[in-house]
Amino acid sequence: MKMFDSSFIERIKKEKKEWQEDSPRNLFEQTNSSSIPIKLIYTPADINHLDYEQDLGFPGNYPFTRGIHKTMYRGRPWTMRQFSGFGTAEQTNQRYKYLLSEGETGLSVAFDFPTLKGYDSDDPISLGEVGVCGVAIDTLKDMELLFEDIPLDKVTTSMTINAPTPILFSMYLAVAEGQGISCDQVGGTVQNDALKEFIAQKSFIFPPEPSVKLVIDVIEFCTKNVPRWNPVSISGYHIREAGATAAQELAFTISDGLMYVSKTIERGLDVDAFAPRLSLFFCAHNDFFEEIAKFRAARRMWARFMKERFGAKNERSLWMRFHTQTSGVALTAQQPENNIVRVTLQALSAVLGGTQSLHTNSFDEAWQLPSEKAVTIALRTQQIIANESSVTATIDPLAGSYYIEWLTDKIEEEAMKYIDRIDTMGGMIEAIKKGYPQREIANSAYEFQKQVDNKKQIIVGINQFKDEHEELEIPRFRVDPEVEKTQLKRLKRIKENRNHEKVLRHLNELRKATERDENIIPYVVNSVKAYATLGEIISILKEVYGVWREECVFA
């Protein structure tokens, strides 16, 4: 049923025409990040094609445009989950305890680059990177220290790890077991989204097919053994940060998700057995309404794909639960305090878009890993939105806004064009091999930078309202160079003291299982328990799968 009757719409259209004749004509054209032209005003005529029950519905009802829960933030607020990690496992463990004592409700682990790329700290290529951008993890010992005195049945943990997910996840399960906590009691998330690595973040190791095979191994293992775990966080964040528009972020993320779902079904799992544990991860960027519309559109699209393409019947399979992080690239190094305001607006868009969890960036992150003061302000920003602004009082408060509903539709329409194109190519793996999403993103990134340079896109403190005499007063945060030495010493000690025969036996079994194309997780669990290193396990997988080198094109 249409929202308004047709005679009313005709009258509105006529009145709008008259109104426009009276308004100034020389207004410059305005578009959003997705190149959608924005009208001066929106009226009921812009949303009259919508059917409330079919296109919006009630929160908790299909197609979930208005939210996945019936109570949303009245029932419980979003999870405030601040991504952090640096230096040694002991140092990060201290930061986690601090964040938990300050009211954070979930942990989120940032690993250093060697860990993300599957290298041990003593690999020559790791020099200078150990513990710098996250915490260094080489063996189960590091993971034990990371979660020391943190009961893993009381907190949930999100780990931002991709290609080496089987290893880090196995270590987590082993730590839990050491605390006397069984697999079915731990809850958390691994990012485990290999496809977006090829598209955007570029921390890939193996070629696309075996990479996706490992993603499915984790999904399958969790479905059968770790029911409270989210085995993949299908991530648009990095795609957006690499330069994608909102519509591209939405489209590429959903296409990645579609690939994982169909591959898991091919593995023999029932869609309703695993789909309820899938979750998505988006960026909250600067264009306030475009972001809100994107989140709402994403929920509706996901529900429809799950139902119509994959025949999901369990209502939870249709829920698009999502995490949001405010945009890193939107932070400015200049006048950094302004970032607090940017983050507030971005975070608010995520909340108005119905996010399940949120990370707010710290204002000094265009310079360095955040200082404790900056991290606290970022967390306080969420707490102020949750407790003082009253935006949580009613669900999906912007629903029915002519603009928001029109834009939600429009973003969906734009995203569907990309998804159709990728489907035609044979899905995301094929599209990646053709370089399609990579090229689209690089084009958007260059266009955006040109718009900043020619001031079509204003950024306060960068190309407008500059402070030429600015003297930065950011409290410095530097990872102690001693970290690397401490880490290398510990790794050396473990390598000397472990049972070599046992390590070799388990690595050998892992190799055989990999060659047989079995689910490797049980073999990885045995290997990490024998204190095989991350690098050793990755080397075995590299020998079987090979490594991926991307084509070096920039245009």
Partner: protein
């Protein structure tokens, strides 16, 4: 511009070869947005650009610069390992007797580290918010004049 003046400029351009820039990402981070954007900007400014891609070791970068006979090396790094990796690149260059190649850096480099990097042979550091034309102009003005004539 007077005709004669313009003619002189054209002449100048004719005898100059195109500036050749090697853009590389040392370190383990995959953040290649900036590197790719700057590649396009330099190309659109008429320079010849070679992008050697991710995870390049200092040895690979220096070898590529020699092989390509690059006039400029543009390094993009956002991993925080700049204090270790960048001086290794410049040290290798000088060990190979290469003194006329301009080395510039873009990425997340705290201001405290700028002096240190400049003392280690990095000519310029372009942080977040740098307009593309600043990087282009800097390269044009500071590339070795002997190399491009």
């Amino acid at each position: 511009m007077e005709f004669g003046e313009r003619n002189a400029c054209l002449h100048e351009e004719l005898i100059m070869k195109r500036i050749k820039v090697l853009v590389a990402k040392p370190g383990l981070d995959g953040h290649d947005r900036g590197a790719k954007v700057i590649c396009r900007a330099l190309r659109d400014a008429g320079m010849e650009v070679v992008y050697s891609g991710l995870e390049q070791t200092p040895e690979q970068i220096v070898n590529a610069a020699i092989q390509e006979d690059a006039d400029v090396i543009g390094l993009s790094i956002l991993s925080g390992a700049h204090r270790v990796i960048l001086p290794t690149v410049t040290k290798l260059l000088s060990e190979k007797g290469i003194t006329d190649v301009l080395v510039v850096v873009g990425g997340i480099i705290p201001t405290d580290d700028h002096l240190f990097l400049k003392q280690h042979g990095i000519s310029a550091i372009f942080g977040p918010g740098t307009p593309l034309k600043n990087a282009v102009e800097y390269i044009r003005e500071n590339v070795s004049k002997e190399r491009i004539h």
